[in-house]
Amino acid sequence: MLKRQQLRVVATVAAVVAWASMAVARVNGVILDRPALVQAFTLDDHNGKPFTADSLKGHWSLVLAGFTNCPDVCPFTLANLEQVVAELGLRVRPDRLPAVIFLAVDPDRDRPNLKDYVVQFHPEFIGVTGAIDQIDRALKGIDAIAVRAKPDARGNYQVTHSAAVAVIDPQGRLVAKISPPFEPAPTAQFLADLFHQRENARAPGNGQ
């Protein structure tokens, strides 16, 4: 697990959006002092193809935990991420646009509906799920939790889960987390800023 002191708040209304002064909306973003490599896990995507920690490499990713019987918070987040990615398209090159990955933590109920649930927000969004122990490994990799409550008399149960979206860099490392409300323009600006900063840092003589 990541220690809390490893997390450093870098983005508040004032900090991130200072130079985008028109934006009054909020970003709740934290950037890790040290990126944390997402450890190995093996899941399946919503088309039944393997999805592993290596699938996170080679591009930026936004990963969130949720479940398909979640009618409020999860769809709200996915709908906002769709808008965030659209806004990002105005700010970064297409090859830097992040994959959006919905880590479904309630596999028995999620599997039958996962594709429909995810692609309603964007045809390229990816739903992934699998065995509980592998889900738990993936959750740990994005510093998230999920707790499945005991079923009620009707067999229904709630799932409590982290609300944050994990930002994974092209090396497959957790570098930042963003939390609700995910307002599209400022969140996209936060991400564009982060992407530029990381790419400058990796190019010697080109960085700040």
Binding site: V73, N113, Q120, Q158, T160, P180
Partner: protein
């Protein structure tokens, strides 16, 4: 003497009946003082068993109103829920009632209060209407027609 007593009893009965009638009128109008505005159900793909409804409830009446339950011919059942994001964790709780204060309004909106619609009984298309009945603590009901919309048509942040 006895005649006077009967007269008094009759008066009392009439008073009680009139009072009851007034109460009936009052409770019928209590439901009317409560209105649902901008009610909508985000369109969900077929197969999903849990939907949600959002709306603004406005109370223009002179007494607080309490929503204690909801039902719909279009769903097996409806639960009043509240989503809470606290310390980075999202939880959803069933709640027993929602009080709408006099001259007040309560928003049923994303990441907050919502009606969880369980077990859709028919396929829905955009622009369909979902019929919802809100039951109040006094036994009155408020009928709501919620329009089915895509989330991006409504805009997660738009305020009508």
């Amino acid at each position: 003497m006895i005649g006077g007593w009967l007269e008094l009893r009759r008066f009392a009965v009439i008073t009680v009946l009139t009072g009851a009638a007034l109460v009936t009128v009052a409770s019928a109008s209590a439901g009317k003082s409560l209105k649902a505005e901008n009610a909508w159900v985000p369109w969900a793909p077929p197969g999903l068993k849990v939907h949600v409804a959002y709306m603004t409830i406005v109370n223009r009446g002179t007494t607080d109103q309490v929503i204690v339950s909801a039902e719909s011919p279009d769903y097996e059942r409806i639960e009043l829920h509240r989503s809470v994001v606290k310390d980075g964790v999202s939880t959803m709780q069933a709640i027993g009632e929602v009080r709408i204060p006099t001259n007040g309004r309560v928003e049923f909106a994303p990441i907050g209060l919502h009606l969880m619609l369980i077990g859709p009984r028919r396929l829905q298309a955009v622009d369909d209407h979902v019929q919802i009945v809100l039951r109040l603590s006094g036994g009155e009901e408020v009928r709501v027609a919620a329009v089915v919309r895509r989330r991006d048509d409504h805009g997660a942040h738009s305020h009508h």
